[in-house]
Amino acid sequence: MARRLSRRALAGYAAQQLLDGKTAVLQQLAAYLIEVRRTKEVDLLVRDIEHALAASGVVVADIASAREVTATLRTAIVAYITKATSADDVQVRSRIDTSLVGGVRIRTPDAEYDATVRRQLIKLQAMKV
């Protein structure tokens, strides 16, 4: 029986292929996941690939805010992520999430900067004795 490949090993391989411009790896990966019945892990695998990419200098950041992010703020956020993660290339996905109430949340593959009102409220709740 073939040894079960860890998600991190798969992600490392996929990230390297993507960095080399070989996008066909996604087809291979999909076929492999179906073959070994691990399609449920796809979300976690994507996170792992993003993590492996970040280690190579390509950071995919997810920006969530209660209202539309202005161009100036977006530029500042990219600059912040570039500096904080020492990334060569920062790719940003932004979305509106009204449940955050206010402020902005930046998520990189393995870290988070949460300056939302929702986070402050959760912290207050946790402090409640």
């Binding site: 860890s6 976690l44 993590h51 912040y80 930046i106 393995d110 988070e112 949460d114 300056a115 959760i122």
Partner: protein, 508 residues
């Protein structure tokens, strides 16, 4: 050789500092992938350390957990709170510290859970210090041989299996044989003899009603003021049961490290091993013998190794451990009992048969041993207790032969009679620990042969009369004897006179 530029080094260091300061806001996070049975599996947090505390976001604030399985793809974390509050997809962050509990004198007199939260309805405990739950034991050079006695107040233990400060002495036996009673009496004796030893009682999965009764009793006896109780009940999560002895040890270590003396009782480590087995199986660790994980020996060895007598350089404090193990049908060769027997410095084995014969404490003279306590025994008790163990073992063997009703020679008869008296003498009611002078006088009365005329059925009455007489007539001498030194010839003469006088009133 590489040429180093100091100017560049300085610039690089400043850049690194600037970068770290910038990334301060970025917090390492992961997500819960699945949760159940008190265990959460977390994706991400690749920088998490073993035993590091994680904070899991929930609808009711946060739930803490600690990382026990660091796998390539995920972390297995054991929850310290209710698992129904944790949902898959919940955000997990690192707390940046390993588990610690409040320690210090502020805990004295309190009943707490393994995280130091009060369970006695009292105010929140605010201490100046915190102690690490998992901590390395003191090294070789930081230790000293056990040499100071830790009197239990139980005559048969102090005379035959003496315990020293810093020793680990196992109390082992079937259920309902008086294991906890020995531990409680030892705690009470510390208060009665004013030894200054702090008691830490760790209840692992004990019935809450039993803990409540214990607390009431300790309060009645005036012991609670120098006692900390770490309590976990059967309904608590396995993680808390697992942590309880380590948390209690951290609390005891505070006193040990501050040149004081502490006594810790783990009641009991069988339940602790069972809780750890539950956690390990849920964490998918491979089961071994009796389904316990491979590191179940290390679980207890690293815990008990923290009990020690410190060297003078480290303040000469001590932490004495009395772990308790429950056996099934007297089988001391089971997995956990043999493990703990090999870790500890001796064991007190309690037998069901003796218990039901009315010999209480039901200590087996043959199977019990104290490997290092002899050096710590007081001179007074040592002088009379030297041959006690051998004599008692011989008596029990001879007594079994005597049952066949064969004619016995006078020497054997006398040995059996003395053994019967000794057995009666060593019976001791619960909550009545005895001082050194009481133990010395009682044992001396029988082993010297001065009580040979006393009816074996009336030995306890004769003992009470003797102790009362000596205390009322020779209080000063008895107080001196209570310090532990061997009595002078004058004192011995007056003790002998008192024994002879009392023996006349109880002749059989």
């Amino acid at each position: 050789m590489t040429n180093l530029s100091v100017t560049e080094l300085s610039r690089d260091l400043r850049d690194a500092i600037a970068q770290l300061e910038t990334s301060e806001g970025l917090e390492s996070v992961g997500i819960v992938t699945r949760v159940g049975d008190g265990v959460a599996w977390v994706h991400g947090l690749y920088s998490a350390g073993y035993s590091e505390v994680l904070e899991i976001e929930s609808d009711n604030g946060t739930v803490e957990a600690f990382a026990l399985n660091l796998n390539e793809d995920e972390i297995g974390a054991v929850l310290l709170g209710n698992d129904s509050d944790v949902k898959a997809g919940a955000r997990v962050s690192l707390k940046g510290e390993t588990l610690s509990v409040p320690v210090g004198p502020e805990l004295l007199g309190r009943v707490v859970d393994p995280l130091g939260r009060p369970l006695d309805g009292g105010p929140v405990i605010k201490t100046k210090h915190r102690g690490l739950v998992e901590r390395e034991a003191v090294g070789v050079m930081g230790r000293k041989s056990v040499h100071e006695p830790l009197m239990t107040g139980i005559m048969s233990i102090d005379a035959m299996f003496p315990i020293g400060r810093g020793q680990r002495e196992l109390i082992i036996g079937d259920r309902q044989t008086g294991k906890t009673a020995i531990a409680i009496d030892t705690m009470i004796n510390q208060a009665k003899q004013k030894t200054g030893v702090v008691n830490v009682y760790v209840a692992i999965g004990q019935k809450l009603s039993k803990i409540a009764r214990l607390v009431d009793r300790l309060k009645e006896e005036g012991v609670m003021d120098q006692t900390i109780i770490v309590a976990t009940g059967p309904s608590d999560p396995a993680s808390l049961l697992y942590l309880a002895p380590y948390a209690g040890t951290a609390m005891g270590e505070y006193f040990r490290d501050n040149s004081e003396h502490a006594l810790i009782i783990y009641d009991d480590l069988t339940k602790h091993a069972v809780a750890y087995r539950q956690m390990s199986l849920l964490l998918r660790r491979p089961p071994g013998r009796e389904a316990y994980p491979g590191d179940v020996f290390y679980l207890h060895s690293r815990l008990l190794e923290r009990s020690a007598k410190l060297s003078d350089d480290l303040g000469a404090g001590s932490l004495t451990a009395l772990p308790i193990i429950e056996t099934q049908a007297g089988d001391i060769s089971a997995y956990i009992p043999t493990n703990v027997i090999s870790i500890t410095d001796g064991q007190i084995f309690l037998e069901t048969d003796l218990f039901y014969q009315g010999i209480r404490p039901a200590i087996s003279a043959g199977l019990s041993v104290s490997r290092v306590g002899g050096a710590a025994q007081t001179k007074a008790v040592k002088s009379v207790g030297g041959n006690l163990k051998l004599g008692l073992s011989q008596f029990r063997e001879l007594a079994s032969f005597a049952q066949f009703g064969s004619d016995l020679d006078d020497a054997t008869k006398s040995q059996i009679d003395r053994g019967r008296r000794l057995t009666e003498l060593l019976k001791q009611a619960q909550y009545q620990p005895m001082g050194i002078w009481e133990q010395y006088v009682s044992i001396h009365a029988v082993t010297s042969g001065l009580f040979d005329t006393v009816d074996p059925e009336r030995v306890k009455d004769a003992q009470t009369a003797l102790l009362t007489k000596l205390w009322s007539d020779h209080k000063t001498e008895m107080r001196t004897l209570n310090k532990g030194d061997k009595p002078s010839d004058d004192v011995l003469a007056l003790i002998d006179a008192a024994i002879t006088s009392v023996a006349k009133g109880f002749e059989g």
